[in-house]
Subunit: 331 residues, 2 copies
């Protein structure tokens, strides 16, 4: 048997075999939808969920499985938490290749191991052919918040520095290029990676990290606009300081995309006290996951709830959220 | 706008509007995939996930939304935990009616409130028309384990009583009937309900609850076979003591189903010390969610890993797990 059957999701023998042969070896849990019992070394935990519907399932630099692990790890990490445990819920289309499932599951296992998290519970449902698109994966995650750790847009103050941890745009461009059968030379590969180790390094450099978020769907522009709305302040950024690789710029111009709105999967923005910014950026540049970290702008008093981009030709323009859809199913 | 667009899942303005207008009022959280920060009053927690792909989305007695809340609450409850927090991840097909989404979300909100849990984090993805089947919902859940609480198949002993909390088969039959355009008089409605309050009552009657599980996909037979396999013992049950309503029996015979394999969504099986069984059953019968609780059998030394059904005509037959699929997409 090399394909998923409806019976693999019906709770009976086939499902038990699927779990025993494929999920348990990778994750070390029953995968049957039962609760895992876990110990959390604090009473204050971060808790999140994300579903992944990226198409295609395999793209340069990654696949839906590691995306589902890294994405949820990152949601926890940018909330200031140390990620500990994940769950994984699979919705699989009848006829899906078991060999593809195996690749996805094993890259999830590797990503979890690299990020230092455990996938402790799982669930599998199978839907009829034509009623899903290969596989959708939901992951939820739990992390513990170190004492005093507090990440919120309401913490930021005028004068704070806005930092981006790495090159922008690679994930979105790699997926769209794959979807359209385009290849670039040098290749543009997804930046999917876990950011919890980088966050730890940043806090070691300074405790004055006021806010973090990962600019995934909607890209940097949408994320900064959210911060402007939530804080009430203005975020002013400079085009010349944005770490956008030449390849991504070229691909975006070819594909008609604005890199500011393109999804990232291994980048965080951080807003830190100005006095701490240089130390934080230096620590990030020394970390393998923050090599191209840069201060890209500042928080200003006003205009309220606004993101301004200083362009390279002088002057500035207002940046809004992504309108409608630029890149559906990017994660 | 009365239908879901691809842009509702792209992280931008439309998604923010969807969250603001539909999810936040119901759940009181941002629904944007960010982490929720929650306090758990113990270090030992139960953690689970389940995806829901039931078709049709609306069926007699419930819909996919309350199923997704109650199902995950029940996974936690039968692990012995007090359910506290849930997450909800939505994968929605482009073109899905906003009015249906509203019904689903509001029934989730009502179910959560009835079960005493909070939906603290959410996520929404939209896939192209024809790439999903209306809506799929994943819920994960966290509960706290009271000190000393220990539910495991390895705890059960020969002589223990096997209890079922209520009538069997209603959920599966209600969904299959709806799928086939059949109605019964009196109607057969899904038993979807949260079981955490019933579990609390059982523990008040006796601490000697050794094992619980909710017989959902695969039904009572598959669940008991799992217990037999995990414990190594024999589970002997009596046909005459199974609480199967006449309507369910009739419908099953019409539909060619075996009620032992039909999914339940508001029933648990419990294995308790024989000395505690009468008190536990009495407490369940006094609870609105366990009205037809009954002792249906016993744990025996052998034959090992076997489920035996004593039939009404004398003799007994071996019960195995569901083979392949009897009722796909029942939850």
């Amino acid at each position: 048997m090399d394909r998923i059957l409806l019976g693999h999701g019906s709770g009976g023998k086939l499902m038990h075999e699927l779990i025993r042969n494929h999920f348990s070896p990778a994750f070390g849990n029953s995968g049957s939808g039962d609760s895992a019992i876990v110990n959390v070394p604090t009473n204050r935990i971060a808790y999140t969920t994300d579903s992944y519907v990226v198409t295609p399932l395999f793209f340069p630099g990654g696949n839906i499985g590691e995306l589902a692990v890294n994405g949820t790890v990152n949601d926890l990490a940018v909330s200031g938490a140390d990620p500990l445990f994940l769950t994984a819920g699979f919705v699989i289309e009848e006829g899906f290749l078991l060999s593809d499932l195996k690749k996805i599951v094993s890259s999830m296992s590797a990503a979890a191991s690299k990020a230092g998290v455990q996938i402790v519970a799982g669930d599998t449902k199978v839907v009829n052919k034509g009623k899903a698109d290969g596989i959708f994966i939901n992951t939820s995650g739990i992390g513990v918040l170190p004492a005093g750790r507090d990440i919120a847009a309401s913490n930021i103050k005028p004068g704070d520095a806005v930092i981006v941890s790495n090159d922008l745009g690679s994930h979105g461009v790699s997926v769209i290029a794959e979807r359209n059968g385009l290849t670039f030379d040098p290749p543009i590969v997804s930046d999917t990676r876990a950011l919890n180790s980088l966050v730890k390094t940043m806090y070691q450099a300074s405790p004055d990290v006021r806010f973090m978020r990962d600019p995934t769907r909607g890209g940097l522009a949408t994320t900064l606009k959210e911060v402007a709305l939530e804080s009430g302040f203005c975020i002013r950024i400079r085009d010349k300081d944005l770490p956008i690789p030449a390849g991504v710029k070229g691909a975006c111009s070819l594909l008609g995309l604005d890199p500011l709105f393109v999804a990232n999967e291994g980048v965080l923005i951080a807003i830190v006290a100005r006095s701490a910014a240089d130390a934080v950026v230096a620590s990030m540049k020394n970390h393998e996951d923050g090599g191209h970290a840069a201060i890209i702008g500042e928080v200003e008093e006003g205009p309220a709830k606004t993101v301004l981009l200083e362009t390279n030709i002088g002057g500035s323009r207002v940046i809004d959220m992504l309108q409608g859809e630029q890149l559906p199913r990017i994660c």
